[in-house]
């Protein structure tokens, strides 16, 4: 893929878990809607970052672009040093399969599959053999404290337990970073605490995690905060965040 499209040859700094450079995302219309306006940011390995902003701030678009689920109109999105802008759909899928872990507000656990099966799906599209998938899924579930719930289907688990299964699924392939979209949005306060404590523990063990939230209290509890407003990063509490 050594084509000479304008964005391709820009060297990205190896070492960042995720780097966005001058990312613009426009949706077609009259006039076009600019959801992301020249966003640059850099998240190092081992960081725990909150992306906070009200609804309509461009937070969701930022999440989609960071997770390579959506392509920017221009700019660079580099995951673990791999620039995704110039890559094919198949290659970007590979980046997601190997480098990114997702946690969603709605859990997205598959019904009719046990916790272990759901977690091992995190390795499915890397072509890992079933036996190894299973072993690593068991490990991941033990890591999130669900070693006793391995064979339960999602509908036999509490909301907090479901989200911990989803976290285990996001960790099982040892991604460069975990992207958690409103991970506590569907949880009661007790489960919210449990999940946030788990995220804190995982961070302490060295996992890179980005939490997207509209909840300022949750954002305040995290070491670094990026505030999004009108499609731009308006503040970064980080030591030397790439933006602004």
């Amino acid at each position: 893929m050594r084509t000479t499209t304008p964005a391709a040859p820009v060297p990205t700094t190896a070492g960042a878990a995720l780097e966005l450079r001058s990312v613009v995302k426009e949706y077609p219309g009259e006039p076009p809607v600019r959801a992301l306006d020249d966003v640059s940011l850099r998240i190092e390995h081992g960081e725990l970052v909150a992306v906070v902003g009200p609804s309509g701030s461009g937070k969701s678009t930022l999440l989609n672009v960071m997770g390579t689920l959506d392509r920017p109109t221009s700019g660079i999105v580099a995951v673990d040093g791999i620039d995704t802008a110039t890559r094919s759909e198949k290659e970007v899928a590979g980046v997601r399969a190997c480098k990114i872990g997702f946690v969603f507000q709605q859990f997205f656990l598959l019904p009719g599959m046990s916790a272990v099966e759901n977690v091992s799906n995190g390795l499915l599209y890397q072509g890992v053999a079933p036996k190894e998938r299973r072993e690593r899924a068991v490990e991941a579930l033990e890591r999130v404290g669900l070693g006793h719930r391995l064979h339960h289907p999602p509908n036999h688990l509490s909301g907090g337990e479901r989200q911990r299964v989803a976290v285990a699924r996001a960790l099982v392939h040892r991604p460069a970073f975990v992207l958690a979209d409103e991970p506590t949005g569907n949880l009661d306060s007790k489960s919210t605490n449990a999940v946030m404590n788990l995220i804190g523990d995982l961070h302490a063990e060295g996992t890179t995690i980005v939490v997207i939230t509209h909840d300022n209290a949750i954002a305040a509890s995290l070491p670094r905060r990026l505030a999004v407003h009108d499609g731009a990063i308006v503040s970064d509490s980080g030591l030397d965040g790439g933006a602004q």
Binding site: G15, E91, G94, Q106, L110, G127
Partner: protein, 405 residues
């Protein structure tokens, strides 16, 4: 392998789904929704069952018919006096049997003569009620020539032919109210009570004789003044010489008026019946194909609904690293799994139906392999076609859209 040591040009980050996992993933949907799976497979089952059943039954019934034709022999030719021009009640010359027997390719021949007499169960039956039963005279070898069987008693022989003894055709026996010969039984032929010494089974190759009462030829001339001109000569011909023999039979039987002799091959009628069954089979096959098509549409329908319902799953799988092609394969596999389940079920139902019906009819059970295998392959094809559109819809769905709820 860390990113720091990896050249940015060729990172080893690939989305890959193992072949075995394609099936595992494709089966996960049907596994999780068993009732829906069973119902959508049922549609295809019905179509396949109809196809397999119709083919199985028609083959079984045809083989029964062909077995019957084979056992009766296709080498029988019936030589009769045709209704000649102004001929009235024409008959074959009295030499016809002899001359026909002299043809080298003729392996056996037996004649029947008409007898001008009515037959009744007893003298109390009104004269008009003959029941359309005819009296004919025959040689003792008639039953052998026709491969006939007796239901009860014996056929005429050299001795019983001379005296008033009768053998009843199957229909004639029924109409005369004779069911068995446990007691000495007599019927009234003309003015004479004649003892019934035998009842025949059906003659599929000479249905006329089913409605006849048969007496010996000598008795017929002695007691009923019957003529010596045969009404028909049943002729067995060496296999392979049937057509040439058929051509020379008229001039052999009646050299003076060959055009008044008609020669027919009774087994042709049975074969025509087998062919008529084919036409019916084609009709039912068409109906089965329609059922299969409807089953296929059912699968397409269920898959379209599944794609709409499972947007979240599709989005999740894309987030987990599935490519569009993986999603397409998953839903295509799922459709094929549904139709294969239907196909297997349909073949089993079709075979069972054929077995039950054929057994009840005393037919040999024949399941044409092409029907079973073809039904199965047809099901796979139906599933693949039915899955194409839903699968491509699922694959086209953008992950961001799929994850939005």
């Amino acid at each position: 392998m860390t990113a720091a040591t990896m050249p940015t040009g060729q990172p080893k980050v690939l989305s890959r789904l193992r072949t075995a996992d394609i099936f595992r993933v494709g089966a996960s949907g049907p596994r999780a929704r068993k009732t829906r799976t069973a119902l959508s497979a049922l549609g295809v089952s019905i179509g396949i069952a109809a196809l397999v059943g119709v083919l199985g039954l028609s083959e079984s019934s045809k083989s029964a018919l062909l077995d019957e034709i084979a056992s009766l022999g296709t080498n029988l030719l019936t030589v009769e006096a045709g209704a000649g021009f102004g001929g009235g009640d024409s008959a074959l010359p009295d030499t016809a049997l002899e001359t026909i027997e002299r043809i080298p390719t003729v392996t056996g021949a037996s004649a029947v003569w008409e007898v001008d007499a009515d037959v009744y169960r007893n003298e109390f039956i009104p004269e008009g009620e003959t029941g359309s039963v005819q009296v004919v005279a025959a040689d003792p070898d008639l039953v052998d020539t026709l491969n006939g069987e007796l239901a009860d008693g014996v056929f005429l022989d050299e001795a019983t032919s001379v005296y008033p003894n009768a053998v009843l055709g199957s229909v004639a026996a029924e109409r005369l109210g004779v069911t068995d010969l446990d007691e000495p039984t007599y019927v009234l032929i003309g003015d004479e009570y004649v003892e019934v010494i035998g009842i025949l089974e059906e003659f599929p190759l000479a249905a006329d004789l089913d409605r006849a009462v048969i007496i010996g030829q000598e008795a017929a001339t002695t007691y009923y003044d019957a003529g010596t001109n045969p009404a028909a000569v049943y002729t067995r011909v060496a296999d392979g010489a049937i057509d040439e023999t058929r051509d020379i039979l008229p001039s052999t039987a009646d050299p003076e008026n060959p055009e008044e002799v008609s020669v027919s091959r009774p087994s042709d009628a049975l074969e025509a019946q087998a062919a008529a069954d084919d036409a019916l089979t084609t009709l039912f096959l068409g109906l089965g194909a329609v059922a299969l098509l409807v089953g296929g549409i059912g699968i397409a329908n269920v898959m379209v609904i599944a794609v709409i319902e499972r947007r979240g799953e599709i989005g999740l799988r894309r987030a987990l690293g599935a490519t569009r092609a993986h999603i397409r394969r998953q839903f295509l596999t799922e459709a094929v799994i549904l139709s294969v389940l239907g196909g297997v079920g349909g073949v089993l139902i079709g075979v069972a139906a054929t077995y039950v019906y054929a057994t009840s009819q005393d037919w040999r059970v024949i399941i044409p392999q092409e029907a079973a295998i073809g039904g199965f392959l047809g099901a796979i094809a139906i599933g693949a076609v039915a899955g194409l559109y839903p699968a491509s819809r699922a694959a086209r769905l953008a992950p961001t859209e799929a994850l939005r709820t």
